[in-house]
Amino acid sequence: MKVVELRNVYKIYRTEYYEVRALDGISMDVEDGEFVVIMGPSGSGKSTLLNLIGCLDKPSEGEVLINGVETSNLNDNQLTELRRDTIGFIFQTYNLILTLTALENVELPMIFRGLGREEREERAKELLRSVGLEKEMNRKPNEMSGGQQQRVAIARALANNPKILLCDEPTGNLDTKSGEQVMEIIRHQNEELGVTVILVTHDPSLAKYADRVIRLRDGKIESVEHVS
């Protein structure tokens, strides 16, 4: 089953003086449970692509289907629910809420889903334990290392049991050891729990986790490489 389908997708940024074709006719599918790594030089459109798949942004042209549903037919609330229940985001800069503790950050998506206090607290603790942060639960983001923050972000992304995990350079700001820890957690989600992972990176060494590596250049797919 295809969880993500892109049909001839364009994303064009226009201003008075120039026009940038961030995505220039992309078509691709991602199968359920697949681990896809997207690589390419800076400015090649990787983040733009990921944001479209994550329903954070809309294509200028073409179709984006999530679980077979054409996203341009959905209203804002339906898109919000898709992000909340089906998609988990991990960003290069963690994007945690600075006023909330690690535990509260992880609880947030479950609050948005309307889960009761006890249930979400229990699940948040379990998730934080699974990423090795049982001792840091009550710390605020700026009291934690980059690697720890990114693990909180992963726990938050997994809070509502997403089907698809979208990671935009999750190890970009981390040292090798922290990066490996983070990648292990993501790999575990993919292999043991069957979560579909789409991961954007500059780091060629991460290709080893992938089922497939897609290379972008100037908003176009340059090559697709299956890893067995």
């Binding site: 954070l56 609330n77 919000t80 985001f89 994007n95 600075l98 889903r113 938050r156």
Partner: protein
Amino acid sequence: MFLELAKRNLQRAKVRSLLAVVGILIGVMAVSAIGIFGESLKAAVAQNFEEVANELIVSPNFQEGYKYLEEKDINRIKKLPNVAEAIAIKSDSLLIETKKKKSYTVVYAMDEKDVEEMFEAEKGSIRLKSSCVVGKRLAEFAEIRVNSKITIGGREFRVAAILEDTGARFDINPNSAVILSPEDFEKVSDVGYTLLIVKADSLEKVDDVKNEIEEKINSRDEKVVVFDLKIILEGIDEAFSQINIFLMAIASVSLLVAGVSILNIMLMSTIERTKEIGIMRAIGAYRSTILKIFLMEALILGLIGSGIGSVLSVVGGYLIDLAILQDASYVFQLSTLLYITLGFCVGVFVSVVSGLYPAWKASRLEPIEALRYE
């Protein structure tokens, strides 16, 4: 949790939140305290008239040629329902002579007990058995003292008492007059009854009594004119209500300023937290959720500011009353509670309305634009 989130966001910008609270607080306090003071002023003025407010004054209709009230009409009025008491008074202008002065002066005929009830003696005691009582101003003017002898209409009377200054009155004013008993009065003057003071059982019954008198006495001919003092009370009430509204309108300007400051603070907060809004939208917050979080913050600011403002407005009202009226007891009346509630509600309302636009703006941010914001 949203409450918690709102609370922490407010705490994050402590000084700013504090300023917003102070703004609202001052606004609420100004409105409530001025409202309280206005009510106190009204109460203070109205209190002077409260005693006479249930009185009706019946006088003969001169325009129709009636010089005096008829005794049978007086007796009929006395027997009307809801009439607690009716005091019939004769008055005439008679020549008064003392050792030094000689002048025409108003002389009233009243029963001793009525005089005792309506007025206080400043010197001497009120006795009308072949003696008279004299109003304060007349006493000063004619140099009359207790136990002086004065001649009224050719007869000599002993002065039993000098009355206290009665201030402004709407029924009869003995300040510059002499009061005699009806029996003595008859010896010096042959006029009939010129005035009837009717006291209704209560303020609410004044209109009933007035209508009864009109119906019973004036059925065929407009013999008497009835004037109810309640009208004065109503006039005071209306005048002071208008003054109060005007004062509060001025005070509201400070609330408006407070509203603008909340608007400003919340707008700054929206801009500062653009990224945070983007994050929340990315992980599944509806637009309406963002709206709620921001409105909650405005509400908290409003509740705290208005709450403290309400408490302080009692203190403020108390101090203003003490300073201007020299009497703070008027603060403790029902209308105070009303103005506090009003101030509180207006304060909260202004805060939420001011938060509406920033909250709406925050909720309209596109997730991707918000996320990209640094």
